[in-house]
């Protein structure tokens, strides 16, 4: 009897306790201006997804060596879509900072014109005036703010365009050592056009750019880390290595899908 009388109050108690006192969130009306074009950079090792950076999984590479990827970051400029008529549509202000370890890999853009496109273009690196300009002028959340990215030399001036670091083993029984490639200086600004025909119509689209870490070491130049594992883009031997790496980088990136 007592239980039966309590039940309605108990229901009311819990209903009132659980209900939110805030107003219902207002649903935004559908607005075409919110149509997004997104670009996601997806790290790969060959055909497979790269294991999460920060995990010491050694992966096979050219020459019987194996390697991990601990840090992989890039500064892009002139990041843009290329139309079928070869016009350029700059994405945002054209600068972007990709960091696979920090999962900073997906970028959304509004106000992209509808139409047919034939690919994505970007440069790894910056114009000389930006590269050697004052790095303190950029807002705190801008890809070119060194306090955000850590991609600036400081001492000798100029940005690090591309950082690719990890550990390697010369063979299965060898101890691991580090490798570090820091691309910098105007000599090593490189550009990439990733072709794929697609149409941007009335709906949002996402493009996936794959980045295959394995390609850095083997296509077309086989790179043995046991011979040299460091390049900061300075000095003759480092420059030769960086040139080989960047030549291979043309095989690293591909625009796989737009959906």
């Amino acid at each position: 009897m007592v239980v039966r009388k309590i039940i309605p109050f108990a229901i009311a108690f819990f209903a009132l306790s659980f209900q939110s006192c805030d107003k219902e969130p207002t649903k935004k009306p559908v607005d075409n201006s919110e149509k997004l074009f997104s670009v996601e950079f997806e790290p790969h090792i060959g055909e497979n997804n790269l294991p999460p950076l920060g995990v010491n999984d050694f992966m096979s590479k050219f020459g019987g060596e194996s390697f991990t990827v601990n840090n992989w970051a890039m500064l892009l400029s002139d990041f843009s879509l290329i139309t079928q008529s070869n016009d350029t549509v700059i994405l945002g202000d054209g600068y972007q900072w990709v960091n696979f370890r920090a999962n900073r890999t997906t970028f959304d853009y509004q106000d992209i014109p509808t139409g047919r496109y034939k690919g994505i273009y970007f440069r790894l690196g910056l114009d000389s005036n930006i590269n050697h300009g004052d790095p303190t002028v950029w807002p705190s959340d801008h890809p070119l703010n060194p306090n955000l990215t850590g991609l600036h030399w400081g001492w000798s001036g100029g940005y690090i365009f591309h950082a690719f670091e990890g550990m390697y083993k010369a063979n299965d029984s060898a101890a691991s050592s580090g490798y570090s490639f820091h691309t910098a200086t105007m000599e090593f600004v490189s550009e990439y056009f990733l072709p794929l025909n697609f149409e941007f119509g009335s709906n949002s689209l996402k493009a996936v750019v794959t980045a295959d870490a394995q390609q850095y070491f083997e296509n077309p130049n086989g790179i043995l880390l046991k011979e040299k594992a460091v390049s900061h883009s300075a000095g003759e031997s480092e420059k030769i290595l960086m040139s080989g790496l960047l030549s291979n980088a043309q095989s690293v990136f591909a625009l796989k899908i737009v959906e």
Partner: protein
């Protein structure tokens, strides 16, 4: 039974209204509340670039001053004997000359107290980089049993019993003393600690080498990896700058050397950041500190194992444990061989490090104990 039902109904109504009530720390009815905003450009030098500041906690003169009061006040500890400043002393760049600091009841901390300055440019805090916001950081030492051992309810009660805090919380936040605003005030004060006036900062980025002695300049080249002294062209100087570079002498980005294992031991003993992430690669990694004011922030490393800078240099030159499985790639990328710096090179490096002391910061009255005349 009817009485029971009525009581239950009243309870329901009370619960419902409590849920919809105003926040506990309601604003005081002070129509003249107008704290004085501080333009961040007055705090942060243009040559450092603008840091990424919390947008919901703007600097105010009242907020920074309240944070300074709280920083120096032992009332924040359970027995009113330990303040933040007990372990973070201004003359040591807000570090502690003891390897492990002493908290309440004579208990010792687990790691060396880090120096505190230029934190606005950091993205992670504590040696193990476990916290991303200073407002969150401050609650840890206050509540740690071996530091201040305080409980937050008791602290809030205590602050409300002290007239000066009633007044200064009202001036800064238009509210009665409460621990959330306390954390914001401390965040403002900690972010305002800027060290920028060392000889190194005047020299950087090398525009005026004449400011340095010959030894300091040689040290600068070694530090920044601009010396090829290995016959195989493998090693480039001492290469300190990857983790301690730029005008702040630190790597702001944790992923670019801001958190690293520097080969102190064959295997990690203190797991550091690895205990936070549980990733093999992070085991034994710690936040790489700024080297500004390094002459006064000893003892060095997370456990204070080195008492002198000479010992630190000797470690990096001669004793790095490259076999440590989580050593930073940048450390072992030079072939995993000891640098074996000459005594002259070690002396030059030391001379360069000594240019990083900012005596203006160490003596800045704006950062000093406000309770002292």
């Amino acid at each position: 039974m009817k009485k029971f039902s009525s009581i239950f109904f009243v309870l329901v109504v009370i619960v419902a209204f409590i849920g919809c009530g105003k926040e506990e720390n309601a604003e005081l009815n002070n129509s003249s509340f107008s704290p004085t905003l501080i333009d961040p450009t007055e705090i942060f030098p243009s040559e450092f670039g603008m840091p990424n500041l919390p947008k919901d906690n703007p600097f105010t003169e009242e907020g920074v001053y309240l944070g300074r009061m709280l920083f120096y006040d032992p009332v924040l500890s359970i027995d009113s004997t330990v303040s933040c400043a007990s372990c973070h002393k201004q003359e040591f760049a807000f570090g502690d000359p003891a390897p492990l600091s002493v908290g309440v009841f004579g208990l010792k901390t687990g790691r060396n107290a880090p120096a505190l300055f230029n934190m606005a440019y950091s993205q992670k805090f504590f040696w193990d980089a476990r916290v991303s916001r200073l407002r969150d950081l401050v609650f840890e030492p206050i509540q740690a049993h071996n530091e201040m051992a305080m409980t937050l309810p008791l602290l809030e009660t205590r602050l409300n019993e002290i007239p000066r805090y009633k007044r200064h919380f009202e001036l800064a936040f238009n509210r009665a003393p409460n621990v959330m605003d306390m954390s914001l005030a401390l965040e403002q004060f900690l972010l305002s600690l800027v060290s920028k006036d060392s000889k190194f900062n005047e020299f950087f980025p090398g525009n005026n080498p004449s400011l340095l002695t010959a030894s300091e300049l040689r040290g600068a080249f070694l530090f920044n990896g601009l010396v090829d002294f290995d016959e195989n062209n493998v090693t480039k100087g001492a290469d300190c700058f990857h983790c301690h570079g730029g005008e702040l002498a630190q790597q702001n980005n944790p992923l670019m050397g801001g958190i690293a294992n520097n080969g102190l031991d064959p295997y990690p003993t203190d797991l550091g950041f690895g205990k936070i992430t549980n990733k093999e690669q992070d085991m034994g990694t710690f936040k790489a500190p700024s080297l500004l004011n390094i002459a006064v922030t000893g003892p060095y490393m997370h456990d204070g194992r080195f008492t002198t800078l000479e010992q630190v240099i000797n470690h990096y030159s001669d004793s790095v444990h490259y076999e440590n499985p989580s050593i930073h790639p940048q450390m072992s990328a030079h072939g995993g061989i000891q640098l074996n710096l000459s005594q002259q090179q070690k002396d030059d490096l030391l001379a360069y490090l000594l240019t990083m002391t900012d005596t203006a910061f160490l003596n800045n009255p704006e950062y000093s104990n406000p309770f002292k005349p």
